[in-house]
C-alpha cells in the first residue's frame, strides 16, 4: 500500500470516529472507503428498550465462550468453532434457534439486530442479507456480557481465518464490527482501536496461546469510542480493537459482523 494515509498521531483534522444522528449511506461509505474507522449512532434503540432487553438477556442467561473464558455470551460466534467439524455443525444446527432465543429475550421489543438488518437493507442499494456459509444460514446477534474489571483483549476479526478456502470469506473486501449497546457502565467499557493493521500471522504470533493480545503488551490505543446505552457502533474490525475494563456493572451488547464485497453486492451479516 503506497497511498498516503492520514497521520493521526500528528493531530491532523482526520477524525476516525464519527457520530451521526441516524444510519446513512454516506457514513457507511465513509467506513468502507477508510475515511473513518468508527461510526457511532446514539439512541439507535430507546432507553426503555435497553432496560427491558437487558432484563431479558440476563434472565435468558449468559455462558462463557468456548475459547475465550470470562466472556459471557448468548448465541454462538463462528470464531468459537475453531474449524472443528463437530463445533461447526453445532453452530449451524443452533443458528436459527439462537436467533429466536435472542428475539424471545428482547420481547416485547424487536431484537435490535433485526432493526439494524432492516435499516441496512433499506440503506444499501443491493440490500443486506444474512450470511450463508457451506449453503447454510449463519447466526447473527451474539450478545456479550463483560464483567466489571475484565477487558476484551485486543484482536482483529478475519472471517478468512475461521472459514478458510471459502468463496464467502475470500470475496470479502471489508469486515466491520456491529455493536448495539444494551447496558454499559458509566465508566470504562470503551471500544479501543489501533490504527496500524497487522497481518493475521503477526496477530497469531503476538497472541500466543491466549485468545487475543493482552492490553499491556500493546502501546496505548490510537482512538476510542465511549458507548452509551442504546448506541449502535460500526467499526473496522480488521484493525486491532479491544474493550477496556468497565466499572461497576456488566457491559451487555448485541453484536455481529457486516461484510462488504463491492458497491453492487449485498452487505451480509453474521456472528
Amino acid at each position: 500500500m503506497t497511498l498516503a494515509r492520514p497521520d493521526i498521531s500528528s493531530a491532523a483534522p482526520f477524525d476516525p470516529v464519527r457520530v451521526a444522528p441516524a444510519l446513512s449511506l454516506d457514513d457507511v461509505l465513509a467506513l468502507i472507503r477508510n475515511e473513518i474507522q468508527v461510526l457511532r449512532v446514539p439512541e439507535f434503540i430507546s432507553a426503555e428498550a435497553c432496560r427491558t432487553i437487558s432484563q431479558g438477556l440476563k434472565s435468558t442467561g449468559y455462558s462463557d465462550y468456548l475459547n475465550a473464558p470470562k466472556v459471557g455470551r448468548i448465541g454462538m460466534s463462528y470464531f468459537e468453532t475453531g474449524r472443528k467439524p463437530e463445533i461447526i455443525e453445532h453452530y449451524f444446527a443452533t443458528a436459527l434457534d439462537n436467533l429466536n432465543l435472542l428475539r424471545r429475550a428482547c420481547d416485547p421489543y424487536p431484537c435490535p439486530m433485526d432493526t439494524f438488518r432492516c435499516v441496512m437493507d433499506e440503506t444499501w442499494g443491493a440490500g443486506c442479507t444474512l450470511q450463508t456459509l457451506y449453503g447454510r444460514k449463519m447466526f447473527v446477534g451474539l450478545s456479550r456480557c463483560m464483567k466489571p474489571g475484565i477487558p476484551l483483549k485486543a484482536h482483529h476479526d478475519m472471517f478468512g481465518r475461521h472459514a478458510p478456502d471459502t468463496p464467502e470469506a475470500a470475496s470479502l473486501i471489508s469486515q466491520f464490527g456491529i455493536n448495539i449497546y444494551v447496558d454499559v457502565p458509566e465508566t470504562g467499557g470503551e471500544l479501543a482501536m489501533w490504527q496500524k493493521e497487522i497481518s493475521d500471522a503477526e496477530f497469531l504470533d503476538q497472541r500466543g496461546d491466549d485468545y487475543a493480545i493482552p492490553l499491556e503488551d500493546l502501546p496505548p490505543c490510537d482512538y476510542s469510542a465511549k458507548p452509551e446505552n442504546g448506541d449502535l457502533i460500526l467499526f473496522n474490525a480488521r484493525k486491532l480493537h479491544a474493550v477496556l475494563p468497565g466499572e461497576g456493572i456488566d457491559r451487555l451488547t448485541i453484536s455481529g459482523f457486516l461484510g462488504y464485497r463491492g458497491d453492487r453486492e449485498p452487505l451480509t451479516v453474521w456472528s
Binding site: S46, A49, P108, P110, D114, T115, C118, G127, T129, P266
Partner: protein, 280 residues
C-alpha cells in the same frame, strides 16, 4: 352474512384443498418455515396463519400510534384509509412514482415511530424471512430505487374491502421486477380486529384481468355480494399475521364494531433458489 361467516370459519379452515393440505396452515412466530411459502407458491395452501405474531400490548400501542399518525384515503380508493403510499396508487404516473420513491424512506420510519417505544414487528418478520428462506429476503428495488414496505391500513366499520387480486405486473407492466414474479403473497399483521366482521375472504378460481375489469364496473374491486360464496374464510385475531396468495381474488368482510387496523405488504416469489422480496 357476518354471523353466518363466523360460524363457518372453523369448517372452512379444516377443509382440505385437492392436494390434501388444509387451506390454512397454522403456525407460530418461531415455527414459520420455507415449506410454508413453497406450499403457497405451489397453490397447495392459500393462507399461512401465524397466531399472535405481535403481542397484545404491542398491538394496542401500535394501533394507537398509527391512529395518531393519521390515516388518509388511498389516492385511488377513497373508502380505504392508510399511512404510507402503495405502489398501486401510482397507476404508473411519473409524478406519483417519483413521489412514491421520495417518501418511501420517510414512510418506513413513520411506521417505526408508530411502534415506539416498542419497535416494529415488521422488522422482526423481515429478519425471520431472511433467515428461513434459503436465498434470503430483501426489500424490493424498482428502477434502481428502494420501494416502501409497511403500509398501515384501516378498514372502518361498515365499509368493505372489495374483492380484488393483487398482481404486481398489472401495476408495473413490462417491468422486469414485476414480470419475473412466479407468485405473489399478501401479508398483514393485525393490530386491531373487530369482534364481528373483518374476515379475509378468498376464492379459488383465477380471474383473468379482462374478466376482473369487466366485473368491477369501474370500481377498484367487485362487490362481495356479486361473488359466489367464498372458498376460504379466515378471521384474524389481534396480533395475527396472515400471509396469503394475493393473485387469488380476495376481500375483507365489513367490520361491525371497530375498525380493522393492520400493516400490510406483499412478498414476491421467483423460485425456490431466488431471494424473496417485499414491498407495499
Amino acid at each position: 352474512m357476518d354471523t353466518a361467516l363466523s360460524t363457518e370459519v372453523e369448517r372452512f379452515e379444516a377443509s382440505p384443498v385437492p392436494g390434501g393440505l388444509p387451506y390454512v396452515i397454522h403456525t407460530d412466530k418461531y415455527g414459520l418455515n420455507s415449506e410454508h411459502f413453497k406450499a403457497l407458491a405451489k397453490g397447495e395452501a392459500r393462507v399461512i396463519r401465524v397466531a399472535a405474531f405481535a403481542n397484545g400490548p404491542a398491538c394496542d400501542l401500535i394501533s394507537r400510534g398509527q391512529t395518531s399518525l393519521g390515516f388518509e384515503p388511498y389516492i385511488n380508493v377513497s373508502e380505504v384509509r392508510k399511512i404510507g403510499m402503495a405502489f398501486y396508487e401510482t397507476e404508473l404516473k411519473p409524478e406519483l412514482i417519483e413521489r412514491y420513491f421520495v417518501v418511501a424512506r420517510e414512510h418506513l420510519n413513520d411506521f417505526r415511530k408508530a411502534c415506539e417505544p416498542f419497535g416494529s414487528p415488521l422488522d422482526t418478520l423481515r429478519g425471520i424471512l431472511d433467515e428461513i428462506w434459503p436465498a434470503g429476503a430483501n426489500l424490493q428495488t424498482l428502477f434502481g430505487r428502494k420501494m416502501f414496505v409497511g403500509l398501515s391500513r384501516m378498514v372502518e366499520p361498515n365499509t368493505t374491502f372489495l374483492a380484488h387480486h393483487d398482481i404486481f405486473s398489472e401495476d408495473a407492466p413490462g417491468i422486469e421486477e414485476a414480470e419475473s414474479l412466479l407468485a405473489q403473497f399478501a401479508a398483514n399483521i393485525y393490530f386491531q380486529v373487530p369482534e364481528v366482521g373483518g374476515e379475509l375472504l378468498m376464492w379459488h378460481r383465477n380471474m383473468t384481468t379482462e374478466e376482473f375489469d369487466r366485473r368491477r364496473r369501474g370500481k377498484y374491486g367487485i362487490a362481495v355480494e356479486d361473488m359466489p360464496t367464498p372458498d376460504v374464510i379466515v378471521k384474524p385475531g389481534r396480533g395475527d399475521l396472515l400471509i396469503f396468495d394475493s393473485r387469488k381474488i380476495h376481500a375483507v368482510a365489513s367490520p361491525h364494531d371497530t375498525a380493522r387496523i393492520a400493516v400490510s405488504f406483499f412478498i414476491g416469489y421467483r423460485g425456490d433458489d431466488q431471494p424473496l422480496t417485499y414491498w407495499s
